[in-house]
């Protein structure tokens, strides 16, 4: 029981850490491509880790199965949504941010 609690605590803390990293990237990075890059990867990882902790907390009943399904679909759809957003941005002709043009 003790080792299970430690595992849950560890997973939750690392999930929160990755979510904070995603939020900082979303605020601090300069344009849509870098922001999506930060948000999709870290946010997916943070959500998956936190949901794993939730699944372990439920301890093997029907709620665990639902949480694992949610985790799988989060893992599938979150990067695809980021890909779709960035693709739409590239289709619209939004230029990536570079260090050459500092004035915008």
């Amino acid at each position: 029981m003790e080792i299970q609690e430690i595992l849950i605590l560890l997973l939750t803390c690392s999930g929160v850490f990755f979510a904070v990293v995603a939020a900082i990237g979303l605020v601090r990075l300069p344009d849509v491509y870098t922001r999506t890059h930060s948000a999709s990867k870290s946010e997916t990882f943070g959500a998956v880790l936190t949901l794993t902790a939730v699944a372990i907390t439920f301890g093997g009943d029907l709620s665990t199965l639902k949480t694992v399904l949610l985790l799988v679909f989060m893992f599938l759809t979150n990067p695809t949504a980021a890909h779709a957003i960035v693709r739409a941005a590239a289709d619209q002709g939004i230029e990536p941010w570079t260090t050459e043009e500092e004035e915008s």
């Binding site: 679909f73 599938l76 759809t77 890909h83 693709r87």
Partner: protein, 155 residues
């Protein structure tokens, strides 16, 4: 490529294999989840409105994966209207059925089935889900058609 093309003419949509593969895998699960949420409306969180939006999202995902014009041609103009119409018709039938059997409007006990109230509420949720999914689909096509068309005739 961009010579002699106007600024606002949309380029033909090129499908992304990543989005298409994901949508192919996800769509049946989204449909099942929408029905699940609809049927859970009677005794827990969820209901016809939320489930209808989830089912309507399927057409949005297909539009994003295969191009909006392709999806519009595939769905056709009759399906959203038909969904909304059949939902309203189902609700009216469920509601006025007890009136014909001697009760008042939506009084499910007049049906004399075992769990008449439960099944009645589920059927009404399903009808609401049909209406909401049809409206979400139609709204998506109307918004996607832009401002050039006069009104929502293309939906």
């Amino acid at each position: 490529m961009s010579d002699s093309t106007d600024e606002r003419t949309p380029t033909p949509y090129v499908e992304s294999p990543i989005i298409m593969a994901t949508v192919r895998i996800i769509t049946p699960f989204v449909f099942t989840f929408g029905l699940f949420v609809m049927f859970h409306g009677a005794d827990s969180s969820g209901g016809g409105f939320q489930g209808g939006v989830i089912v309507g999202t399927i057409v949005l995902m297909l539009g994003m994966a295969f191009g909006i014009e392709t999806t519009r041609n595939w769905v056709g103009p009759k399906l959203p209207v038909g969904l909304v119409g059949s939902g309203v018709l189902a609700f009216i039938l469920i509601g006025t059925g007890p009136v014909l059997l001697g009760g008042s409007f939506l009084e499910y006990h007049a049906y004399e089935i075992h769990h008449a109230s439960k099944y009645g509420i589920e059927l009404v949720e399903l009808a609401i889900g049909l209406i909401v999914s049809g409206i979400v689909t139609g709204l998506f096509f109307v918004i996607a058609s832009g401002m050039e068309d006069n009104g929502g005739e293309t939906a």
